[in-house]
Symmetry: C2
Subunit: 421 residues, 2 copies
């Protein structure tokens, strides 16, 4: 995290805000649409709607932070929050939900400004070297870090909560079971997984469904962890973890699955991925792609893009279709699980906050705040519909080996207990 | 059906095929990929793969028909079949399934030729006047005609068969119930339906779910029939049938539904439809669009386009998304019901054939054959994946009033009995 900001001294509260400062504060509130959130400047001056109970206060601690915020709120809020020059008093995620909703109502989201930004922004193009660098940036922070706030199996993608009150552990197992059910796995099938994280799904598929799996990932730390786990569980004869880009997959497979990888590559990379699917999927094969997405094409929040996920681009459905439509694939089912990701992120944020001290000791407080904001901001993005989560099931065009209805997905409760527990 | 061909005299079988005729016959079989179907010329010469049992024979009854077929098989097969210059000995639908499959395997479908055709073909653009004319062409042939082969409620869209062996009547009721379930109708809600056919769904929604419905259709005969039915069932205070283009809908509604209309308007008309949805859907509203579609953009079969559905264009998912993505709508669920349409069409074809004599008496034998080919060809198109059937559920971006999972769609069996029966 060499890019992360060093904390800077906060100016004293004695210095009074100027007329210009107060004008900027009001313009900022105009821009974000006066959410039920109080804006507080370093001298204690406050800006809020009179008619609403405020859910939180955003405290701007110095003039420079206010100026930067006004210039580029989307990016600078994260910068200034990370280093403590902006503080939030109250529930951070709830505060951001209010801001996102107000932005939408004020027409800032999806409006002209966004479209202009989108036209100007180049879609990230991730060649293999760049992809590797991006992934190292995020995933090679250290497995110990993720262990502090993910579930016990280290599943770092949207969980599925058949019942809203289940635990995160249960919901991650239910998600893996749900994905397997959508894929109708059968013993002996050959499965390939593009982007396998710490290997939980690959091992689950092999253990629970008797399939063999080749699982690809470019994160060295994750692959090392996954291989160790496969050996420990005696699954290393059926699950092969390969440290390589998913675009280099070789072989023939009955099933293609990718959970949480597509959003890390740009739309420009889809043709290469599509040709991999076409090359490796058997004629009767089927697949599932699970990805963060959007209701309309648009760039990821610039701060998240810069500080958390370089190269990430959550596609709209029409953008996702560029994977399938030109390549003889038929889409059978698309499900939007947006609110399941909001719930997943709430769990992560709660665990993260409970381990905040340990994160600060492992890194520093700026890092702790940066990741806290990312998690809370993601809760807000999925809660308010700024981001979506799509699961797409597909096969080759004209293959009639499809379930007659989707009823089989729901006939039996999903398992939500690890066989080990 | 002023465009339909008059039967022409079939040449005598005595005239021998020439070397050029036989060369053309082989080129034709090359083009369609030598399906397990025999090609027979007027003099009895036969062309078939040696290794396969043939399922049917396509008999070309004169040299002119062969020439026209070779020049433009996609279009002329329908022309020549309708007027009896081509005959099929065996199951027509099964024969066409084999031909479609062989075409796909030979790379003729979705291949370069198709793409060229697509680039050359202008997408149909249906302004209101044209739309009216197109709809009259098809739907104002007379209700008595459709009564011969549709279900008793005259539902002329894909049915839903929770159990594959249910009757067509049951499957059409199950389809309406399934659509209502996807929309989560509540008593008192205001529903608008764009393209309501003979009114079965509008009446079903009002009767079974206590909603009020405004239902739009530009076919005068269908609207007259639907109004009569509403009065007879005492639902005319809650269901209003309006003879107008769906693009002229006015008012505010909790639910927007359109079953089997989108495929009749060109992609160029989607922005107008999208602005209707945006204008009339309440903030918390939801919607469902059910439409024939394709796995990739491409033109409808030129013969169907000319003789059966002028102006029709089945969109791919990415094309459908142009309705939703630019307009602040969020797609929640897409289901592909392709094989349910193949099954529906098999039922229609069976009933149609059982009433073939009556159709020929109402019109003439050319008309009977033309519609028979359309129904059998549609069985083949949906069976082989040339056409798809998509149901898309949507609401406004950021609306969190969505079901937690899709399990509610399958928890209880769908009703499949008409309350009247």
């Amino acid at each position: 995290m060499s890019n992360a900001h060093k904390p800077v001294p906060v100016r004293t509260l004695e210095e009074k805000s100027s007329k210009a400062d107060r004008w900027m504060a009001r313009r900022l509130m105009d821009f974000i649409g006066w959410p039920p959130v109080q804006l507080v400047l370093w001298d204690g001056s406050r800006y809020a709607r009179e008619d609403a109970d405020v859910v939180a206060a955003i405290i701007v601690r110095d003039r420079g932070a206010l100026r930067r915020l006004v210039t580029n709120p989307e990016f600078e809020f994260g910068e200034m929050y990370s280093c403590g020059r902006i503080e939030v008093d109250g529930d951070l995620a709830e505060c951001l939900v209010c801001v996102y909703r107000a932005l939408r109502a004020a027409g800032q989201v999806g409006g002209l400004r966004k479209r202009l930004l989108h036209a100007l922004a180049k879609h990230p193009h991730n060649d293999e070297a760049r992809a590797r660098e991006n992934i190292h940036h995020h995933y090679d922070i250290g497995n110990d870090f993720y262990r502090l706030w993910l579930d016990e199996q280290l599943v770092y993608t949207c969980a599925y909560f058949p019942a809203p009150d289940m635990t995160l552990e249960q919901a991650q197992i239910a998600k893996m079971a749900y994905v397997c059910r959508k894929l109708r796995l059968e013993p002996g099938q050959r499965v390939v997984e593009a982007g396998c994280g710490w290997g939980a799904l690959a091992l689950y598929m092999a253990r629970q469904h008797g399939v063999t799996v080749k699982a690809y990932n470019i994160s060295r730390e994750q692959i090392a962890f996954a291989r160790q786990r496969a050996r420990r569980e005696g699954l290393d004869d059926r699950v092969e973890f390969i440290e390589d880009d998913g675009r280099n997959i070789e072989g023939e497979f009955d099933v293609f699955v990718s959970v949480g990888m597509l959003e890390h590559i740009g739309v420009d990379s889809y043709p290469a991925l599509a040709s991999v699917i076409d090359r490796v999927l058997s004629d009767r094969g089927r697949g599932l792609i699970h990805s963060i997405g959007r209701d309309r094409p648009g760039p990821l929040n610039s701060w998240i893009q810069r500080r958390i996920f370089p190269g990430a681009y959550p596609p709209s459905i029409s953008e996702m279709m560029t994977l399938f439509e030109p390549n003889g694939l038929s889409v059978l089912d698309i499900e939007n699980l947006r609110l399941h990701y909001a719930r997943t992120l709430q769990h992560w944020l709660q665990r993260y906050d409970a381990n905040g001290d340990r994160v600060a000791r492992m890194f520093d407080d700026t890092f702790r705040r940066l990741w806290r904001l990312y998690l809370a901001g993601s809760v807000a993005a999925f809660s308010t519909g700024t981001l979506q989560l799509f699961q797409v099931v597909f096969n080759r065009s004209g293959n009639n080996d499809v379930p007659w209805t989707r009823d089989y997905l729901y006939r039996e409760p999903l398992p939500d207990q690890s066989p080990a527990s």
